[in-house]
């Protein structure tokens, strides 16, 4: 699910073929030269008595010269062939599509902010750690970093790109197989570098369009008094200082957008599956799951926490 060996885009496929060629040719060279060295080291043992002959005799010197020169020439030719192949793959990867679905991805310590831009602000969709893309359409990511350097990498779809403060980098691919592809931050970014995963959900165009439409409609505010109480806990206990929920007064952008929290399969940047029990555990003490995480443990009463989780569970 998370591997160069299982490409799901023409881009990743080109690199995977490049890899197999390199591994094949490289493996032959490795074992060949190593075998040659071992053979050279053991072949002459004890057979010749010319121990005091410190010079290589002129005649065998010339022969060896030819062999060594041939070895170097072959090395150069292999490198030249490889360079050509590499440049052709590089050229393929560098050909940006004319028009592509553009998604803004911003790296934070330690989660991924995702924003689907739209000229109509009401259709703008913010989410986190899960990126839906249509199969068969070119997708371009605009990558930014909010704090330190991160690196976006989903090996099944394309190579990685660093997110560097002060720069906007881009990366594009065209998923050709529907599926869920895991990715993880690849540039060391502090305490929870290990806890900064994400998922790319490549789905057929129709399904993607439906997801997009659902995404731009915020969930209805709860009517059930218990859930309304949970919502009040959210708004008044500090949650809203960092998080936003569409259709409410919570509009902060420090932490992940929670508008459609329950539409996501995982929480805590891919660390926990998105179940009620895990959500409770996470809110209780985030640092127990991700030591160093920026989200504080808010000292709720058990009843308040239950109400809060019940409310969050409605954010479908």
């Amino acid at each position: 699910m998370h591997s160069l060996f299982d490409p799901a885009s023409p881009q990743a496929r080109a690199v995977a073929s490049l890899w197999w060629w390199m591994a094949g040719v490289g493996g032959v060279i490795w074992l060949g030269v190593a075998a040659l060295a071992v053979y050279a080291a053991v072949r002459g043992r004890g057979t010749r008595a010319a121990d005091d002959l410190m010079h290589i005799p002129a005649e065998s010197h010339r022969r060896i010269e030819h062999v060594v020169t041939a070895g170097v020439v072959i090395t150069v030719l292999i490198l030249a062939g490889f360079l050509t192949y590499d440049f052709s793959v590089g050229r393929l990867l560098a050909q940006h599509p004319q028009r592509a679905l553009t998604i803004d991805v911003t790296g934070h310590q330690w989660w991924w902010e995702v924003l689907y831009e739209d000229p109509d602000p009401s259709k703008r969709i913010g989410t986190a750690n899960e990126i839906h893309v249509p199969v068969g359409e070119p997708v371009q990511f605009k990558l930014r970093a909010a704090d330190v350097i991160h690196s976006y990498w989903a090996p099944n779809l394309n190579g990685k790109r660093d997110l560097i403060p002060g720069y906007v980098s881009t990366l594009w691919f065209k998923a050709d197989t529907a599926g869920v592809y895991r990715g993880q931050c690849a540039e060391f970014c502090g305490l929870q570098h290990a806890g900064m995963a994400f998922y790319i959900i490549a789905e057929p165009k129709v399904k993607f369009a439906a997801w997009l439409a659902a995404g731009s409609t915020p969930p209805d505010p709860p009517t059930d008094p218990a859930l309304r109480y949970g919502m009040r806990v959210f708004m008044s206990s500090g949650c809203a200082v960092c998080h936003s929920i569409g259709g409410t007064d919570a509009r902060a952008t420090v932490g992940p957008d929670l508008t459609h929290l329950k539409s996501r399969s995982s929480i805590a940047a891919g660390m926990l599956s998105n179940t009620r029990a895990n959500l409770t555990r996470w809110i209780e003490n985030p640092a127990a799951i991700k030591p160093g995480v920026r989200m504080p443990a808010v000292p709720f009463s058990p009843a308040d926490r239950e109400a809060l989780v019940s409310y969050l569970e409605t954010l479908k």
Binding site: A14, M22, V33, A41, G44, V72, L93, V148, G166
Partner: protein
Amino acid sequence: VSGSDPRVLPVDQSIAESDLIGDAAVLDDTWRDKPGLWGWLCAVDHKTIAKRYIVTAFLMFIAGGIEAALMRLQLARPENTLIGPDRYNQLFTVHGTTMMFLFAVPMMTAMGLYFVPLMVGARSIAFPRLNAFGYWTYLVGVVFLYVSLFSNTGPDTGWFAYVPLSGPAYSPGHRVDVWAQLVTFTEIAALCGAVNIIVTAFKLRAPGMSVNRIPPFVWAQLVVAFMIVFAMPAVATGSTLMLAADRAVNMHWFNPAEGGDALLWQHIFWFFGHPEVYIIFLPALGMITPIVETFCRRQVFGYTAIVAANIATAFFAFGLWVHHMFATPIPELGQSLFTAASMVIAIPTAVQIFCWIATMWAGRPRLTVPMLFVLGFLFTFINGGITGVMLASVAFDKQAHDTFFVVAHLHYVLIGGGLMPLFGAFYFWFPKITGRLLGEALGKVHFWLFVIGTNVTFFPMHILGLNGMPRRIYTYLAPSGWGPLNLVATIGALTIATAVLVFLINVVRSLRVGDVAGENPWRSSGLEWATTSPPPSFNFVHTAVVHSRHPLWETTVELEVVSGLRTDRREILVTTTFDAHLDARALGPEPSIWPLYVALCMGLLFIGSIFSPYFVLAGIGASLLGLLGWGWESTRDVEVERVALPDGALVEQV
């Protein structure tokens, strides 16, 4: 006494004849470091300093190894809780920093500081006090880093310390300051060593050792010394002036919000960081040539090609730093230049490998432990070289960059290309340094455990990397499927630890009961074997005159020697840079306390600067005082006197 004879220096008639005769007792009296604690602190003998370097650097290797073993234990299974992220980040940072800055470079330099003067047939290194100063500075750095680590102030942003993570906003406290100043110490030490090696190799060679007769190890050290001179200032500027200034006084060099640039640091760091790899690797290659020559009983095939390959590697090494930055937004066209350069650098290394194999082919190899390590080098390093060429591809590197594939690659290169030749060199030169041979049987156990351990540890990491495992993560989830191969890697790491333990047992045992080596146990060809083992304080009773690349293989009788150097004071023979004609007679310095004093003052300056700018003033003041004392000593001790010789007198004779 004739001015035109290369073997006889013109002598002031007022000097007593007895002071000119090579008398070991008189020479030892002149050259020996003084006894007692004070004498120990004042020591300037290059062999004493180099031995301290070697021992300290090896302790650092063990420290770095323990850090690596702890990390491997943590990663042995998914979601392990042995070490938390805070401790883990310090461990991997200190592991990298230790291995690169405190083990590999100082160790390679130390081997040069010990052997370059011996190999060129000199009485001493060019600047003995500077050499001592370099060691003391390095030692201050070592103590500083490890005191910090044990007081939970170990640096934790990687040995590359990328900004903004290492900047003031995201790394408050003093952890990164420790790293930035540690780098300063090691840079100063490396530069002292480099300057010493350059001048020793250029000016103190035995008469007749023209540039085309310089031993390949000395060539490698010389080339690397120049690389150090060009590479180290980059990181010293980056870490000391820019990163430390960003942190101490908010200079904003690297802060994009204030017009700085976060990517700039990476350019500065890798402009140093890439040549750094070759600074470790080239001396190791230099060690291989004498080992292959000695145990195959043949002069190496392609001496000129090997030397040229060294120089070519050094040039290219400065032109491929961007391949560490292929995932950054540097445009593709610019990156492709660095792809090509990264592939081209494989060619000079291939040339050297083919030359050694050809020498083995033409010779009659004896598979002693040093020779086994050469084969271990070939087997392991070539794998690292090939993955290196793969990583030169931008397209592939964007997949493999910052994953365990790169961890595998760099360890194959540095262990295969650095450590294996180094271990071979230990077995080869241990008898020269200590007078006793290392045990062959334990040596073979060490070799096999080490080669197997290395491959079992690092080969699976290629697959882990391609299966998505990034570097520098302290844990991973079970569904990732990375568990089994990580466990294999951990078992391999413990095998490496066992191998190193076997080596240590061998060293301790051999120091006590090893076979006595004699002058030249391997019947090798270099000048370092033309003196007792261990060499006396004055290196050679007589300064040799050299007629070929293999002085000890060419003469059937005694070596020709120069006479006319005074034995009652520290006279050193200086020769011309290219042809090694007699040039001058220099007087070396006596033992001195000032190097230690100045090193401690610099320690005060750099360590204190973390806490208060006033320490900078105090450190500079105290250092200046020390330099005055040092300089005053120089006016008393050091002089250079040109030898009046007709031009070309030597070349006709040799």
